[in-house]
Point group: C2
Chain length 343, copies 2
DNA sequence: CCTCCTCGTGGAATCGATTACACGGTTGCG
DNA sequence: CGCAACCGTGTAATCGATTCCACGAGGAGG
């Protein structure tokens, strides 16, 4: 592959001049410029980004470590992050942690080794030494969706508290008194906060949330299935189940079907994170929708601010309840076109 | 950030010795080794992958350019590719083309600039000059799922022909004679091959596939919706619709619901690409499942073979029909656990 | 006419690693 | 005892860019 030296030789100038042309530095004669451009053309020269990064100490690359690519919520987040980054001239390298702290560390490590300019993380756990150290060392970093408490890193997230309160009101209005939750890992903020918000909202309606109705999941479908089976085995099973993410809701749906039970007649179901498929499940699932695209854009904006030396503030956007039929009442969305973020 | 020089100074040795320790080269004294390791520890040194890549001319990175991340099929493919690559010591950089040739080119370009060791592509179109040139220039490359005819690059894909024949048999057995297809872009191999296989299979049953029943989609949900509306507006609408990918099936479902029609009573639906959600849609959707995980692994294996100088052959794996209720008959999968690839 | 800028250009240092080569000191074998 | 092989180590070249500095030419101004 042709290097800058080859171009310089072909054009009959020095490498310095070639570099200046390529970075459109003002002081280059028109003559030299055209000769260089011609040489670039004939050699099919493409600048080596690796060499450039070494010299300039910047890669124009962002790292994004997410907890689970197979979760449509994170997929959409990744998509909007890449889009926003591209608009600002950055590339994105995605690392999929699969909800495993060791994998998360692996990705953070390789991204750091590659000298990415900044890191966007949705932490799987309470924070490994590696990540804590990176944050302390001043690596530009922004948490998105989930965060690690006590670390001085901006957080971009959606606040589900109000929406969860709406959901609880909806459940109570429909007469459900025995409601359960499938929680995410306690080590994640979204894992614990959603339970807390749910419990508090229930308390406002005088409804308790016993331990037996608080299942421990890990944000993966299989755990939703397992926890739901536990609920159904209870002498007094819950009348409604709230899954803290969409995959666990899918697992719950599986478990309920496996018993031959019907939603919502036999048991109500709701989920955190709305996805296009929830419109078409049987029945359509009531869910809490995050402004995913806006979240991704805000996260990139914050991270690039940090990279460029500014000090962005944390951003919290509201989530909202989307009522469908899985809790009993609720309209159907026959007319709604499939949701897609803007291109 | 500490460099190899700092480590050398701290350990009281030369940079060469530090490098030898880090790459565990045999001829280093135990004494030097321990001193270097200690220095690495105290300085928190991490080798700069950028510098290393520049020198060694390899990045241990694979590029993966897929047509659409929001499509669960490609998400799963990406996941299995990353997993297989990681096992071989490679990282993966994913580029999402969003079914747009210009975006695809953008990603190929940046990946090439980064000097990735090899490229895995599922082309959105018939092949841009850039990609053709890269292939000709000898960039290690493998096509996955889709390919560009006439280019000497190994292809890893699933053959849906047999499964499509099974599907057609299934449709005919249920008495459907007016069947339509929502095709993908003709410029993609999967776009045209699936139509061809479908048409041929229908011919075997003496069923024609008129132009009016051949809708042109682009593998995105919205196009499935639009095409399906066209079908429903026909004086004689089809009795069954086959969508060439899962997103267009989702769009079709939308359009059908919007008219207040029921699947499968009013119209049958089937899709190419099976995804976990199809089990839970209303009704569960009959689909053709590709061995996605195996596809990803085979693709990585082939690409790494090419990188290491060997000459891998193309791989074709069989797809299979999964019958559910959306075409009329078909069992339900209440007992089936949620599908996930192995971790 | 001389000095001082400005402008276009090239030489060379630099980024952080790897690695060929040289060198001094042991060790082994004849 | 002497020569060769070997071992551990350091010096320096190298990868492909960017960029500081110097230099020569030419124009402006005194």
């Amino acid at each position: 592959m042709a290097s800058i030296k080859d171009v310089a030789a072909e054009a009959g100038v020095s490498v310095a001049t070639v570099s200046r042309v390529l970075n459109d530095h003002p002081s280059v004669s028109d003559d030299a410029r055209t000769r260089v451009l011609a040489a670039v053309q004939t050699l099919g020269y493409r600048p080596n980004a690796v060499a450039r990064s070494l010299r300039t100490d910047q890669t124009r690359t962002l790292g994004l470590v997410i907890s689970d690519v197979m979760n449509p919520y994170f997929t959409e987040l990744a998509r909007s992050v890449e889009e926003a980054a591209r608009a600002l001239g950055y590339s994105v390298i995605i690392g999929n942690a699969d909800e495993r702290p060791d994998l998360q560390d692996h990705h953070v490590r390789t991204l750091l080794d590659r000298r990415i300019d900044g890191l966007l993380v949705s932490p799987t756990d309470g924070g490994s030494p590696l990540m804590l150290e990176a944050a302390r060392a001043g690596t530009p970093m922004v948490f998105v969706d989930r965060w690690i408490p006590g670390v001085d890193v901006p957080v971009v997230r959606a606040d589900g508290q109000a929406a969860i309160r709406d959901l609880v009101a909806h459940l109570c209005r429909l007469g459900h008194r025995r409601v359960a939750i499938i929680a995410g890992p306690a080590a994640t903020t979204t894992g614990s906060e959603r339970v807390r918000a749910f419990r508090e909202a229930l308390a406002e309606h005088g409804v308790p949330l016993p331990d037996a109705y608080t299942g421990q999941g890990d944000f993966q479908a299989e755990s939703g299935r397992r926890v739901t089976e536990g609920f159904l085995d209870l002498p007094e099973p819950p009348e409604a189940v709230f899954a803290a993410d969409n995959l666990m809701a899918l697992g719950a749906l599986d478990a309920i079907r496996a018993r031959g039970l019907r939603v919502p007649q036999d048991i109500a179901l709701a989920a955190f994170d709305d996805i296009p498929w929830f419109v078409h499940t049987d029945p359509p699932v009531t869910a809490i929708a995050q402004p995913t695209g806006e979240l991704g854009r805000a996260a990139v904006r914050a991270l690039v601010d940090r990279i460029e030396g500014r000090h962005p503030r944390s951003v919290t956007l509201p989530a909202r309840l989307v009522v469908r039929r899985s809790c009993g009442e609720g309209r159907d969305e026959h007319q709604t076109p499939v949701q897609r973020s803007t291109s």
